[in-house]
Amino acid sequence: MEKSQIKDELDNIFKKIFNNETLEISENMSANDVDNWDSLSHMLLITEIEDHFSIKFKLRELNKMKNVGVLIDILSSKLN
């Protein structure tokens, strides 16, 4: 799956989890940039992404996700 496609699909998941239709994700975006992105919603986000792409993350991958760009990289390496 192309990274741009992953990003588009993630965009919808983010809108749903953070309940914000105007939210546009970018590679540099991190938890600090989004209202309500805390440890709680983070885990809901992770499960939603896992279900959507039918994958499972490892704890180590979770720890590496410092921003959306890294998340896309990890997803792309798992999906391809």
Binding site: N19, D35, N36, S39, L40, M43, L44, I46, T47, F57, K58, L59, R60, L62, N63, K64
Partner: protein, 479 residues
Amino acid sequence: MVFTSFNFLIFFPIVIVLYYLIPSRIRWCFLLLTSIFFYANVLPLYVILLLFVSLITYLFGIIIEREKSDSKKEKFLIIGIILVFLPLFIFKYYDFLNEMIFNFMDYFSIRFPLPKLNLLLPVGISFYTFMAIGYLFDIYNEEIKAEKNIGLITLFLSFFPLVLSGPIERAPSMLPQFKSELTFNYEKAVQGFKFIIWGYFMKLVVADRIGIYTDVVLSNMEYHSGKTLLFTVLIYPLQLYADLGGYSLIAIGVAGVLGIKVRRNFNRPFFATTLSEFWRRWHMSLISWILDYVYTPLSFAFRRYKMKGVLLTVILTLFIMGMWHGATLTYLMWALFQGVVLSFEAITKNKKFAFEKKYNLSKKWWYIAFGISITYILFAFSFLTGGNRHTFSEGIMAFEKIINFSGSIFIDSPSNLIFIILGAFILLLKDFKEEFFSSRLLFFNNKLKIIRILSYSFIIILILLIGVFDAGQFIYFKF
């Protein structure tokens, strides 16, 4: 040797002079020897434990990194953590568990009593144990490379400014600093001394003055009136903040003078508007440690259970935190209380957010003040459910007395009360100013040198005049 002891006032200047006299590439060795000496000065025998934990940390760091397969890495991580945790477990939890199991078996009339150990808890053991566990996790997570120099690992765990009470540092920020050229930096050193002065003020003037009052009341709660208990409950959080917050500032300052940057531990906690925000500002090095190495792995493991999983994780994490504070049932009650409030905040978070947005509340001063007060009161009263001073039933009794608002307020000495109010006022005023008006009304960061000097002189005079110099102990040394 504690920071408030006379010995430290002699020890530290000698360390500074020698440290900057020797060549910079061997300064880390000097720090290591000084740290071992500092720790041995508290309890010589327990240096062995510190060295044992350092050795295990060093070895398992290398083993975890070298292992190729994920499952083996995980296995060695777990073995490493168990070994590192073993001394803390034996010293802190053995007697507690032993007694619980004995009582449980006794209920079924089975009696196999194991001997009680009654060991004296090695100071700082949980701080360096946590740092060691964090290091092993960081290697497993591939955040850092395993350190090949056992001396640096030992220095990381025993670094004397932090070894007794934290802040709980992380290897990725400390090891590179120890490896770099440790040169004298004027700005860092001056900032360090400023932190030290504030730290002494918080500890000696605020914490220990309040301590004189709360010690009397908390150790004899049944003899005190509702009004006295209410006053005590309300000032006790200030004492805890000034005690550990002050200690942390001294530690950060001492490290700073030696050119080492250490993370901050408190961020004006009493200006948080919710309890969850409070816990992001209070004892931050511990909380972020727990978040990264306890909460995150647990919530990751329970993520399939959605909200139930989150609540379970919050309660389990607080349970572990309560156990850390003290292996007693009252601390577990305290943790449960926190857990219930935090879970409530988590569940209602989105609704609250929408409500605040609708009425545009988040910038209104009275709304902020309301949130701050509620959070402070919740935190203050949570100590009635438990804590180190009294039992749960005594707490309930105290709560009833407070509700009845009985009797008159107990004043041990009017001057002490005035000093408490003065010290707490200055501390809170400083925090208040930094929270809301950080670039206005500058005293301690004023452009004019004379105002800066006068401001710090005022604080030093207060320390000398009303500081308590014979209280000695920090509350957090017990951990």
